[in-house]
């Protein structure tokens, strides 16, 4: 019986959150566009022919402007730019999501630990967070991806390990707010241990904020991935938006005026990052009542 009531309440709460989120038109538009892009990326092997990605067996001549056969023209090897952009979404999204999960995971653990355990644990963790916060993350990511073996896993690691401090600070502040409330004192008085307090009280209170923050982190991760790939640090065998732009510059196509080679991957990055930012900001206003009424 009680379980049914709990679920009913949860459903009602979720519906409330959704109503508030849907009231934000920018956030809703961002979510719809994101869903379309993710769907296209996932379905890329089904709706397109991957043999067109082969450099040695390219269907067109190099650097053809847009035409009926190649709606977005061809790249330096004669491959369709539309096809490359579509497949590039897979790597960019994969790295973006995976790096974000890593980053948010580290940030949440460090943040909760720094907020929950006082004294020297908090001291050391805060010092470490501040250190990584000021460290130029691109330079550190470059260093990591140079010394580790080249590949997608390295890029994920480099982006994830360098971007967690903002999450950690946010989570720590929220943990401190929650732990100052009387019900935590009650839980402690009743004999709740660290695990109980963190797992049952702090984590559920922190998670909504973490979720909103996560969508904002994804955008940053995608930009970081494209930057590292642009510098030639990505997986050489995988097509990503950053590596397309790198090829466009290094092959001289940019100075040659091949705008169709340059616009699609760049616009794709801008659109996807903007969508994540819109969704993140909308979620933030839902979970953080203090932000309501501000723009």
């Amino acid at each position: 019986m009680t379980a049914a009531i709990v679920w009913q309440r949860r459903r009602a709460a979720a519906a409330g959150v959704w109503r508030e989120f849907a009231a934000n038109r920018g956030g809703l538009a961002g979510l719809v566009i994101l869903a379309v892009i993710v769907l296209l990326a996932v379905l890329a092997p089904v709706i397109t022919d991957p043999s067109g990605l082969d450099v040695t067996n390219a269907p067109g001549r190099p650097l053809q402007p847009p035409s009926g056969r190649f709606p977005l023209g061809t790249d330096i090897d004669g491959r369709s730019v539309l096809l490359l952009t579509l497949w590039g979404a897979r790597v960019s999204l994969l790295v973006g999501f995976a790096a974000t999960i890593l980053s948010v995971l580290i940030g949440t653990i460090v943040g909760i630990a720094a907020g929950h355990f006082g004294r020297w644990v908090a001291g050391i963790l805060l010092r470490l967070t501040d250190f990584f916060l000021v460290l130029p993350s691109l330079v550190l990511a470059i260093a990591l991806s140079t010394v580790l073996p080249q590949g997608i896993a390295t890029i994920i690691l480099a982006v994830g390990v360098t971007s967690w401090p903002t999450t950690a600070r946010l989570v720590r502040a929220q943990t401190l707010t929650i732990e100052s409330r009387p019900y935590i004192e009650r839980a402690k008085a009743l004999g709740g241990g660290h695990l109980h307090i963190v797992g049952k009280h702090v984590l559920p209170g922190v998670l909504p904020l973490v979720l909103a923050n996560t969508t904002l982190v994804v955008g940053n991760s995608i930009i970081a991935e494209s930057t590292l790939s642009f510098l030639g640090l990505g997986d050489p065998s995988a097509v990503s938006w950053g590596s397309m732009l790198q090829r466009a510059l290094s092959s001289g196509a940019v100075t040659g005026g091949a705008w169709w080679y340059l616009l699609p991957p760049g616009l794709a990055i801008v659109v996807i990052v903007l969508c994540f930012t819109l969704v993140g900001r909308a979620l933030e206003t839902v979970v953080n009542p203090r932000l309501k009424g501000h723009s």
């Binding site: 250190f131 330079v139 904002l216 340059l262």
Partner: protein, 339 residues
Amino acid sequence: MTDTLAAAELIDPDERPGRTGTARFLLGKLGGAVTSLLLVAALGFLLFRLIPGDPVSTLTKDRPTSPEQIADLRARLGVDKPLWQQFLDYVGGLARGDLGTSFGYNRPVADLIAERFWPTLLLVGTATLLAVTIGLWLGVRAAWRRGSAFDRTQTGIALTLWSVPQFWLGLLLLIATHGLFPSGGMRSPDAGPGFFAQAGTIAYHLVLPCVTLLAVLYAQYMLVMRSSLLGEMDAEYLTTARAKGLRDDLVRRRHAVPNALLPTVTLVFLQFGMVVSGTVTVETVFSWPGLGLLTYEALRVPDLPLLQGVFLVLAGSVIVMNLIAEVLYRVLDPRVRAR
């Protein structure tokens, strides 16, 4: 956006000094910065010496070498000593300003960095100066007419530029101006040797990289100035100023803006980390011969000692810049000092 504000709020309220004196505050901040610098040095050693393993095997990968040559090289690079000895040598070298020798250039890393420092300073300095001027002006106008068409377009443009990868913006500018400006380098080989001819050709080459960096940097100044001024808008002293009969733009110039300026002043220093990453991509796109391009050249080889040197110098300067920001904030804001 949250990032923008997070950067401005780097000076955590609960870390602000209490009733303790300025000396103690300064010592605390200085100690923190020194710890961070030591951590950077340790991280540099970990990243470039411990993870990649033996540099000798990398160096001799494609060349036939005798065991004697390898032994000689190991002794010259100091990798035949125990690890703790290597670390002490490394720290001692850092203390003397010795950053090792570049594999690719076969020259001292410190010399290479010193050579490439000035072009970067010129690029970053010009872009920052313009970004501050334009960003603050736009931010003040947007906040003062909050919700107007000007405010909405400008905030929209700033947020969009925020989502644009810097290098792509550079590539777009290259293709949009189509040969109007030089596509790379810092000066033309056929420019005259005179001072004005040289300054002219450098300025001509500076335009595109500077505009690219500017487009990314100004947005943050604008958004922080806007939200800071919005915070002051309802303040009672503005009502007082208006009640005295001051004209609207005098209220803005003399009363609101000076108070709202505070967070943006320290932003110049706090933003330095972002400027550093900007120089790497922008200098790569435009082959501007600064520290950013040096980083790119080093990672292509990969030239680990050079990369290590650049990492240490860039990370170190960001830490110093943050220290300046924190101290400056206290000097500038009497409210923080008095608490």
